[in-house]
């Protein structure tokens, strides 16, 4: 492997990427360069620690979140997958439930209003008064 600078050679050496003569000539050069030798030793120590870092795992629900974001995103699907159809039944169901609740509420409210009118004492009195007046008029008519 051709290496045209000491930094590149050092990197290749640390990665076991120097072949045959290149590796031995680099080691010979290190013997004559105490500073470079110290640097190589320090870097070897660093790499032994960094390379021990464990693998990191994505969260278990990673795919679900990606799929959810794709479904939520707007615009046409370039791959022809109709993600919106997947969520459509839920949307339709939600609208129907909301409409049923609203209709039930309205009907209950109307019944309650009618009951309130029927139970109004002034209305009952007025109705009684009207009946008496009607009876009196009928009696007068008979006489």
């Amino acid at each position: 492997m051709a290496a045209d600078s000491n930094a590149e050679r050092m990197t290749a050496y640390l990665d076991d990427a120097l072949e045959g003569d290149d590796a031995s000539s680099f080691e010979a050069w290190l013997e004559d360069s105490p500073d470079a030798k110290k640097e190589v030793e320090d870097l070897q120590r660093l790499l032994s620690v960094v390379r021990e870092l464990p693998d990191v795992e994505a969260p278990p629900d990673f795919y679900d979140k990606v799929a959810k974001k794709i479904r939520r995103s707007r615009g046409p699907d370039p791959n022809g997958m109709n993600w919106s159809l997947v969520s459509m039944p839920f949307q339709v169901l939600s609208v129907i439930i909301i409409m049923v609740i609203a209709a039930t509420y309205l009907m209950l409210e109307l019944d309650r209003d009618q009951a309130r009118i029927e139970k109004d004492p002034s209305a009952a009195k007025a109705q009684e008064k009207a009946e008496r007046a009607r009876d009196a008029a009928q009696r007068k008519g008979l006489e």
């Binding site: 870092l53 464990p54 693998d55 795992e57 990606v66 974001k69 997958m81």
Partner: protein, 239 residues
């Protein structure tokens, strides 16, 4: 998908060279190297099948691709950025970019390097954005990293115990891991990328050249500078 990602969809010369290099196999290969090449060929064939199915609109192929690469992409982003939540968001964005941009992927280079190019570009773009917002990734580093990591066999692992000896191995090992993570996240973005790709995830030079589009000499000298910068930052912990 941004312009940089679009460029990522074109196979680089280095990528083609590495593929061509693998085709022109040396006359003698040691068994370990042969095994690695066979594994890589099998992985590439599987990726090609998945990409073909994804282009045909097969949702399961996308799910399989995500499950195959989610840990590696999340690991790359997390090690570069140092914040779990931010890393998850970026990794999700990477796969969404893949999903939307798969039509632009012509299959001339390896899917694996194309995916990594998108991941590294997306992460670097986010780092620029976060830098403008004075983002500090250290908030996340105090959490126990061992809780989110796995050993080579998929089982739990206590980080860096083999490096730190003695009765306080677990505590010191976790502290050292946190320090390494913190100091990597303080390097320049390009240096972080090279350290993570080469020294943490163990990619070959050919793979890194294909991902980054660097020349081999530039890669080695830049990797050297990245290692020196990390060494200076970690000196207090390594003494």
């Amino acid at each position: 998908m941004n312009a940089e990602d679009n460029r990522a969809s074109q196979p680089s010369a280095a990528d083609s060279a590495s593929v061509a290099g693998s085709a022109d196999a040396e006359p003698e290969l040691d068994p370990a190297e042969k095994k690695r090449r066979d594994a890589r060929a099998a992985r590439d064939a599987r990726d090609r099948r998945l990409v073909r199915r994804l282009k045909q609109g097969d949702e399961r192929a996308f799910q399989e691709l995500v499950h195959t690469y989610q840990d590696r992409i999340f690991g790359l982003v997390y090690r570069m950025i140092g914040n779990r939540q931010e890393a998850e968001d970026i990794a999700q964005e990477v796969f969404i970019s893949v999903y939307r941009g798969i039509a632009n992927y012509r299959g001339e280079g390896r899917f694996y390097t194309w995916l990594y190019r998108i991941a590294s570009n997306t992460t670097k773009n986010r780092l620029k954005y976060l830098k403008g917002r004075n983002f500090h990734r250290a908030d996340d580093i105090d959490e126990s990293p061992a809780a989110h990591t796995k050993g080579k066999d998929g089982g739990p692992v206590v980080a860096l115990q083999s490096v730190v000896h003695g009765p306080e191995a677990t505590v010191q090992g976790n502290r050292l891991e946190q320090a390494i993570q913190r100091e990597i996240a303080n390097l320049e973005p390009e240096h972080r990328l090279l350290i993570v790709l080469r020294d943490i995830q163990g990619h070959t030079y050919a793979e890194i050249l294909a991902i980054t589009g660097l020349q081999q000499g530039t890669l080695k000298s830049r990797l050297h500078r990245a290692r020196l910068a990390l060494k200076v930052r970690l000196e207090p912990y390594l003494e």
